[in-house]
């Protein structure tokens, strides 16, 4: 157990410093939900940022926003989760390799290496402490959070900077669309739940958190526990895991006030999300959120940002309607996510 004492998030919604909690909601009509990026020179030396690709800039900026938000000087560990790292740089290299095997500019190669984000953050903050990167689909951010909680438990860190980041490109989207799981045309994001176009809506974003040992006046919420589940045999099995996870943390199913569900617009994917919660937590209020940020490997970062803010502000924005009704109290929030029913994750956030 630890506390979320700072957040830095770059997302397709109004989440930059100074913005009101998701107000006004941002409508997207392009192929995927693209992040609203900050003015980078506020966070990165313009000379250095000239050579940086978008993902690296988003990573450093959101990390710096997070550290500033927490009001700390230096984290004791930096941990990043990313499903795909810098897609843009990887594509540059693959493009060059498939035309003529000759590339002389090492910059895209360096930036395509998954650990570049964590290490660029370290260089920027001059942080020599523990530094790691997890790259496991929908376990990427979850692994970071597990590592962060371990650091606190071990007493090796007081403040851990942990976050998840992924980017989408049109090129990459055109490739993964071949798998039949993603929407093959652009839709208005706010129409996601009524759209007749089958498949998931793609998105992207970066979200870093300061995970701390102590509750302070900066605390958003308590990060109680994180659990992963690989290839469950059945929905019942997944639901059992939810109930066990909740009870290991001293809660009964009815203590969960709100569930942030991993629905993304893909019918089969969404059915699993619905079934799991219906089986495990039938009395909990629940909401879907991916119409605001789209689907990506580290999307739980957006959900954790939502949960932490909802608990601190004791308020749910109008763009996130609750079903079947608004929760009577806001003490315990569960985030459930999964990657095509292979990698399931559960994050318990408490007031």
């Amino acid at each position: 157990m630890a506390y979320i004492n700072g957040i830095g998030i770059i997302s397709p919604q109004n989440t930059l410093p100074g913005s009101d909690f998701l107000e006004p909601v941002v409508e997207h009509t392009s192929e995927f939900l693209k992040s609203i990026e900050p003015v980078y020179k506020s966070y990165i030396d313009p000379m250095a940022s000239r050579r940086m690709s978008r993902l690296i800039k988003m990573g450093i900026s959101s990390a710096k926003i997070c550290v500033q938000d927490a009001g700390i000087e230096m984290p004791d560990a930096i941990i990043t989760g990313t499903g795909l790292g810098s897609v843009e740089d990887t594509e540059k290299i693959l493009g060059e390799l498939s035309k003529e095997e000759k590339f002389l500019n090492p910059t895209p190669f360096i930036q395509s290496t998954y650990n570049t984000i964590s290490s660029q953050i370290a260089i920027n903050l001059k942080c020599h402490q523990y530094n790691s990167t997890y790259v496991h689909r929908c376990f990427s951010l979850e692994s970071c959070l597990i590592d962060a909680l371990l650091q606190i438990e071990e007493g090796t860190a007081v403040n851990v900077l942990a976050g998840g980041i992924d980017e989408m490109t049109l090129n990459h989207l055109s490739i993964i669309r071949r798998l039949g799981l993603w929407k093959r045309e652009a839709i208005r994001n706010l129409d996601l739940w009524s759209s007749k176009v089958p498949g998931a809506l793609a998105g992207e974003g970066a979200a870093y958190f300061i995970i701390s040992e102590e509750r302070t006046d900066k605390t958003y919420a308590c990060l109680a526990a994180v659990e992963t589940l690989y290839k469950p045999e059945s929905t019942d099995k997944t639901a059992e895991t939810v109930v066990r996870f909740i009870s290991e943390n001293g809660l009964k199913p009815e203590d969960v006030d709100l569930v942030l569900m991993g629905n993304n617009g893909n019918e089969e994917h969404d059915r699993i999300c619905n079934d799991v919660i219906e089986h495990a937590l039938p009395s909990a209020s629940h909401m879907v959120y991916k119409h605001l940020c789209g689907e990506y490997h580290t999307v739980s970062g957006f959900a954790l940002y939502l949960a932490a803010n909802i608990l601190r502000k004791q308020f749910i924005p109008s763009s996130l309607p609750c079903l079947p009704k608004s929760p009577g109290k806001l003490q315990n929030i569960l985030i459930h996510n999964h990657f095509w029913n292979t990698d399931h994750s559960f994050i318990l956030v408490r007031r």
Binding site: E101, L104, F109, I110, N115, N131, S143, I146, Y230
Partner: protein, 402 residues
């Protein structure tokens, strides 16, 4: 009191051999795996020296006993071979109820197939089955599926220290009581992608690499996979597995200096080794051997050498880089060299730093030039440093010594 962590299984495939025994035989016979490129179709074919695993993908499939029901990248195949060996070595199948985790390191993931079919991905549906084998998690999940593992798993990518960090994270999860046992290590296949990437950085040697030599001129890339089975002391009482050695220390630190260069004084390397040493309860004079990261680049060897001299003031233990045997197995280097260090510990052997003849003027110590046998060894350190200054160090100790 956190549990002690015992190593009870090893699995290793590299250019030197397809299992631990073959790798040991090559080491004992001073047989380097560095040679010309055989498998990869690349313009660099005649230009670079590398260490490739001899088997083709089809041969690896057969060796691992896999059916053609799924598509496998070379990265995954190498991982499966080594993880299978480690797992069978520790006989874990007979112990239900033990929570087994899998922590795997990789840097380029399934890039080996992705780079072949990228144009197909963009223009047609003929190679769709390889679209989802591209990311780093694919090899980890297929290794798990092949062993029937359903417990906690994750994939680490900290460049050339990925496997060392996997071993470290696995150990931390066990000490925290989240796992009873773990398979940890890394896998990497050679790809045009990183051959060209390292080539563009101008840090590849066309000749066999010469770590810690004044004339060193860069890296020979290598491929392979290596996994360790580790279990807590309590779990070991249940499994009864023979303890190979104990993981007594680890450290992870960051250079925070430059994306691809090490700091001249080796800040990250020093901090990683210092953390590992402090945790192990050992002192600089009780470490018998350091398996250095020793890539053979100007930058790494100077930086690492200085960090070693700073930590082991006045009395540097035996040091060698075994990359002239295996090539630089990048994200698998950490676990491969951990195993090489453990094999030295088990057999009382200091592995030679091959291809060394000219001492570096900047360093006082010399790497071990010759193989030294019948050494009474108790404690070995294995260093793995990566791009981005992701530096990690592991310390293993002979079992039963206090």
């Amino acid at each position: 009191m956190p549990s002690r962590i015992f190593v009870t299984g090893l699995g290793f495939i590299s250019g030197m051999g397809s299992n631990v025994q073959e790798n040991l035989t090559s080491l004992l016979n001073l047989r380097s795996a560095i040679g010309p490129i055989r498998h990869i179709e690349t313009n660099l074919k005649d230009e670079l020296a590398v260490s490739e695993v001899l088997m083709t993908n089809e041969e690896l499939m057969k060796y691992a006993g896999l059916q053609n029901t799924e598509v496998y990248t070379r990265n995954t195949l190498l991982g499966i071979v080594a993880a299978n060996e480690a797992f069978s070595h520790a006989c874990l199948n007979n112990h239900p109820g033990i929570r087994i985790g899998l922590i795997s390191g990789t840097t380029v993931g399934g890039m080996d197939e992705c780079e072949k079919y990228y144009q197909d991905f963009l223009t047609n549906d003929s190679k769709n089955s390889f679209i989802s084998t591209y990311d780093c998690a694919d090899s980890t999940e297929k290794i798990a599926d092949n062993l029937g593992l359903k417990g906690f798993m994750t994939t680490i990518s900290t460049a050339c220290s990925s496997a060392a960090n996997s071993i470290m994270f696995a150990s931390r999860l066990m000490k925290a009581g989240k796992l009873d046992c773990a398979i940890a290590g890394g896998t990497e296949s050679l790809t045009k992608f990183h051959l060209n990437g390292f080539n563009a950085l101008k840090i590849l040697d066309k000749q066999p690499c010469r770590p810690f030599d004044a004339t060193r001129n860069g890296i020979n890339l290598g491929e392979g996979a290596a996994y360790l089975v580790m279990e807590t002391e309590e779990t070991n009482k249940k499994t009864g597995n023979t303890v190979i050695c104990e993981l007594v220390g680890y450290g992870n630190a960051c250079e925070a200096f430059h994306q691809t260069a090490s700091s001249p004084d080796g800040t990250g390397a020093y901090l990683a080794m210092k953390k590992a040493l402090d945790m192990s309860g050992e002192t600089p004079d009780t470490v018998d051997y350091i398996n250095a990261h020793g890539t053979g680049t100007d930058n790494n060897d100077l930086s690492e050498g200085r960090a070693i001299e700073k930590l082991f003031t006045g009395k540097v233990p035996y040091v060698s880089s075994t990359k002239p045997f295996t090539g630089h197995m990048t994200s698998a280097a950490g676990s491969a060299e951990a195993i090489i260090s453990i094999l030295g510990l088990q057999n009382g052997i200091i592995w030679p730093n091959m291809n060394f003849s000219n001492p570096m003027p900047e360093l006082q110590f010399r790497p071990a030039g010759e193989m030294i046998r019948s050494v009474n060894m108790k404690v070995v350190m294995s260093n793995s440093f990566g791009f981005g200054g992701n530096d990690s160090s592991l310390i293993f100790k002979k079992h039963g010594i206090h």
